[in-house]
Point group: C2
């Protein structure tokens, strides 16, 4: 006999229907043990009958908390972002928190200050910024008081905790892996200039070579696409000194592989190749692409735990880099003997 009720039903309505006070209904809703079972059943019946649902606004106005974390993303369409998002949402689900998502439209001027101001008008106890592009006010940005803020970025921030994949370490792993196989040098294909992660991979690459006293060959600029990798690969195929290639993502590595194939060069017999992301299912030469896999889920998880202070997270500001894993497959071998 549930009445169809278009208006919202409040605690008071249920209280009236059940012949008790609103407070008692509230106790039933929250599962307090100091309610007589028969009263509880009566109240429950009234709730079902009226279709009562607790009001988020009323509850959180009283509580002063929202149990929700705001997430600002610059753009979503990217595997890494997606995994971070999943890390955050699953951590949130585990802690009984909701996620309020806001996208900074690509057209807008990207500003942390502005994003933070807008997010602060939403029901959030803290916020996470997922930055994958440079924003002009990164260093100047000050988090709003009372709203803990974690930024997912490789760069350290003066006041906010930060977390991201360890891009420098990734380059070190790759360069080291290739050199250990006997290559004299490693050629690098970069990402687009504005990408922070690309810039860090590049910096790590230079540093890895420099720390070993190896002069870095000219870097080829790509834009993450397989096409740009193909182009770079075609140029490297013509360079007889090039025996090892570090493409800064898998899509470009794929392009390199196709270019090498077209140029009649074999992988890994003639050229060793490493990518980054572990985003390719099947790879042209069957043995699969050697690559670095990042734990983006872990990045999201860490950001969530830090911003909520769960899991005994240390209090103060932290800068954490989550290391990736070198996945050794079939595209790295010793250089051809001259």
């Amino acid at each position: 006999m549930a009445r169809s009720q278009s208006q919202t039903v409040s605690l008071a309505d249920v209280a009236d229907a059940a012949g008790v006070s609103a407070q008692t209904v509230s106790r039933v809703v929250r599962g307090s043990d100091s309610v007589r079972p028969e009263t509880r059943d009566k109240v429950r019946a009234a709730m079902d009958d009226l279709g009562y649902r607790p009001s988020f606004a009323g509850r959180s106005l009283k509580a002063g908390r929202y149990s929700s974390i705001g997430l600002v993303m610059l753009n979503i369409t990217d595997t890494g972002n997606m995994l971070r998002l999943e890390g955050i949402t699953s951590a949130a689900a585990a802690e009984d928190h909701a996620i309020t998502l806001m996208e900074m439209a690509p057209g807008e001027t990207l500003s942390l200050t502005e994003a933070s101001r807008r997010m602060s008008a939403l029901p959030v106890d803290g916020m996470i910024f997922n930055l994958n592009r440079m924003v002009p006010d990164f260093r100047e940005f000050k988090p709003l008081p009372g709203l803990d803020t974690v930024i997912i970025t490789m760069l350290e921030h003066p006041t906010c905790s930060t977390v991201d994949n360890d891009q420098m370490g990734c380059s070190e792993m790759i360069v080291s892996h290739l050199l250990e196989h006997g290559h004299a040098n490693v050629h690098f294909i970069s990402g687009p200039e504005l990408s922070i992660s690309g810039a860090q991979r590049e910096e790590g690459y230079y540093e890895a070579l420099a720390s070993r006293g190896i002069p870095a060959p000219e870097v080829l600029r790509g834009d993450w696409t397989a096409d740009s990798g193909y182009e770079a690969g075609a140029r490297l195929a013509a360079d007889p000194t090039c025996t090892a290639i570090y493409a800064s993502n898998d899509a470009m590595a794929y392009g390199v592989a196709v270019a090498m194939h077209d140029a009649g060069k074999r992988i890994p017999e003639d050229v060793s190749l490493v990518g980054v992301d572990d985003s390719l299912g099947l790879f042209v030469p069957h043995n699969g692409l050697t690559t670095v896999r990042f734990d983006n889920r872990q990045v999201g998880l860490w950001a969530f735990r830090k911003v909520t202070g769960t899991h005994d997270m240390p209090r103060g500001r932290q800068h954490v880099l989550i290391p990736g894993t070198l996945v050794k497959r079939g595209t790295v071998a010793a250089p051809p003997s001259r």
Copy 2:
């Protein structure tokens, strides 16, 4: 001289500081024009000084709305889901709405009723379910009164509006395209059995052939992965009657292409191949894979507009299928002449 203020600052605090009433502050916040400029400036100064931020709870308690839509996803890690998510968030940003995201953990029993109950305790005016798996209570599910609900799914629902990609139409396009090139028949590689979209593509495939009186050859069962595509491709390469293959996603089509290459068959000279998703950047034979691209952003956009009733959406329940686009590239040609 901004004071560092750890407590939250309310309208009343600002009112005290500015020497006006709370109502006047409220008017300034909402940009009412009936405030004298000098009063407005005084209030603004006090707001800045105290670091005032409007309370979402207070505002929405009074307003009775949240200007936020709940989104339930079963899993996020999938390109299509991601694009739908982006469609939803960008539509939401345009309408000044927030998105409250909830993930149904994979381990849980998936139930629309349960998800809807949990979501209803969050600050949402309506909700969107993004279903990409079967849920047990799909037909029985009744949306909560007052909370408009849209389900992203191919299946029609008795009470909720639904929207998704037109999978049947996709199969019709592909089969028709292949037959027009003179192929006598089309072989199909399916997705995993539990996938709704896979089932619909398969049904559309059968229907497209049946409507033309062509008997369908045995269907090969895949699981979306390139590896399963490779396996199916290897079997089809051994079948001399097979000249046209419809792989129900691009990854499997990729696997087919590699298998064909390994078996010494050329694409499209010996075998024509079509995939679905347009998810591959570069394709082995340079000319690129002919495929169908779905407009998942549009699906998300529609769901949002429908649930909020913006953009003159018709009132009642609707079931909308957004058509995909056949992207003609280089993997379809006439069958080899015997």
